[in-house]
Amino acid sequence: MTSHKIKCRKISRGHVTGSVIISQEPLSFLGGADPQTGNITDREHDLYQQNISGKILVIPSGKGSTVGSYVIFQMAKNKTAPLAIIALEAEPIIATGAIMASIPMVDQPEEDVLEILKEGDRVEVDADHGIIKLKK
């Protein structure tokens, strides 16, 4: 098995391996995700009705109200949170939420992960060293 390494920037600490779920659109956790189930509830979003629990969430960015940080924390408490988050550009709401919830998060990957990664790919997120590894 080979692994393709991509350098990133650490936002929130941690080191996990899991399968990815990919969105092409910015996500607001407040109003956009159900903390009870981990389902995406925003009808306008490309992940509508999909479940992000235990997955490595790959998104361009976050958006929306600052209360969204608390929603991520709630998901972690409910065990419905994503396993890790990879963003093209972190913004304060999801970054703060990821740290509050102790979910590993990286941003600014040196390659276009929205192109390279495919749904269900196994990926290792080593936020501590700012590296993601695609396992193929």
Binding site: I11, P35, S69, A95
Partner: protein, 399 residues
């Protein structure tokens, strides 16, 4: 980002998990905004207090943090809560909501944060000096602190401000830097302003400037120099229709002399009487309020005094809340203003306001406000109608 040895210790957990997590949030925010390092702060003002906005999850987060022994290291005050913490029963606040609200405030108290729940920290002794670095999160207080006091803060989110209060630091970017305080739009106001005009002006300029910095010139000959109450209304409106964190006003705000040279080549917005009246009209969605809510931002003692003088010996035909902080209410009690307002049938309500209280569940339909900020938020956050006017026109006296 550069961290001092002390900051490295905080980041690596030497001071326990609460400091570690807080520092991690500050470093992430600093990285996102391109900060070169941290600055030490002298004051914090923390949002995320009303149970209506943060809910059970906010409560859980705060209780966890307080349980880990988190303590603030700079003078810190809270934003308004969802109820009057003392008179909630008399005023009809729902008991279940209040129970949760009291737990949220208790968690903050355990962390050493003053439980004066107010959007006007500068009226209750949280008054940082010119040029000092602070971390404030209530948008109207941010605008006042930056503009009128000349202290330096970004528009912090609740968790960011709390982290800053716990670490005594905030990342150095944006409004903390000289280059972040340069004006973007020159606003010449050709009409003289009175009462609710200040809010209307803030509302229309906030829409025009977005998250930029306006520089005001009040050119009408009749114009009096705005004071605390007018500047607080203006800033609150600027921060609610736009995302304004700082304004300059010629001959009024402390940094306007430094800002003036930058106005030479700026785009100019001229505001006439017609513009102000047009905005005033647009902010109302109904007529005849059943509840008049004053004190957005929280009323000063002088504002309460004016209402008391007007109501002395009279009876109100509609309900009246004058919202303020517990500190100003204590002074109002001693001055006899609270008694006059209560004898007329009104209330001096502390710790909360019409935007963060659950007024939509308290039987009110149309809310009368003299604040453009409240007129902006009451329809969207409470789903109720508003009337925006001078407070003297909103209150109805029994004949």
């Amino acid at each position: 980002m550069y961290l001092t040895r002390e900051e490295e210790k905080m980041y690596s957990g030497e001071y326990g998990p609460a400091v570690e997590k807080s520092m991690e949030i500050l470093v992430a925010l600093g990285d996102i905004y391109g900060a070169d390092g941290m600055v030490e702060i002298v004051s914090a003002q923390i949002s995320g207090v009303s149970y209506k906005t943060v809910g059970d999850v906010g409560l859980e987060y705060l209780e966890d943090l307080a349980g880990e022994g988190a303590q603030v290291v700079v003078p810190s005050t809270l934003n308004p809560a969802g109820v009057d913490l003392d008179q909630w029963k008399e005023l009809g606040f729902p008991a279940e909501f209040t129970k949760k609200q009291l737990l949220i405030v208790e968690a903050y108290r355990k962390m050493g944060i003053s439980t004066t729940c107010t959007c006007t920290p500068y009226l209750v002794g949280n008054v940082p000096p010119l040029g000092s670095h602070i971390a404030w999160s209530e948008s109207s207080a941010v605008c006042y602190g930056n503009s009128v006091l000349g202290a330096r803060t970004n528009r912090e989110g609740g968790p960011g401000a709390l982290s800053a209060a716990i670490c005594g630091r905030t990342p150095n970017y944006g409004y903390h830097l000289d280059e972040g305080r340069v004006p973007h739009l020159l606003v010449e106001v050709e009409t003289s302003l009175n009462g609710a005009d200040y809010g209307a002006l803030g509302y229309l300029v906030g829409k025009a400037v977005g998250n930029g910095i306006p520089y005001f010139k009040l050119v009408d000959e009749q114009q009096k120099k705005p004071q605390v109450n007018q500047l607080k209304a203006l800033g609150a409106a600027l921060a609610s229709s736009g995302a304004v964190a700082l304004f300059h006003m010629e001959n009024t705000t402390p940094e306007s002399p430094e800002a003036m040279p930058y106005t030479k080549n700026l785009e100019k917005l001229t505001v006439t009487r017609e513009d102000v009246d047009d905005t005033r009209g647009k902010l109302s969605t109904s007529q005849k309020p059943d509840l008049v809510c004053l004190g957005c931002p929280h009323a000063s003692l002088e504002e309460i005094k004016e209402v008391a003088l007007k109501l002395d010996g009279k009876k109100l035909a509609n309900q009246l809340w004058v919202c303020t902080s517990i500190s100003v209410k204590a002074a109002s009690d001693r001055m006899g203003y609270t008694r006059i307002i209560e004898e007329a049938g009104g209330h001096v309500v502390c710790d909360t306001c019409m935007v963060v209280a659950p007024i939509e569940y308290m039987g009110f339909k149309v809310i009368g406000v003299d604040s453009a900020k409240a007129a902006n938020y009451v329809p969207s956050m409470c789903g109720l109608d508003v009337v925006f006017d001078e407070w003297e026109n909103l209150i109805a006296i029994k004949k």
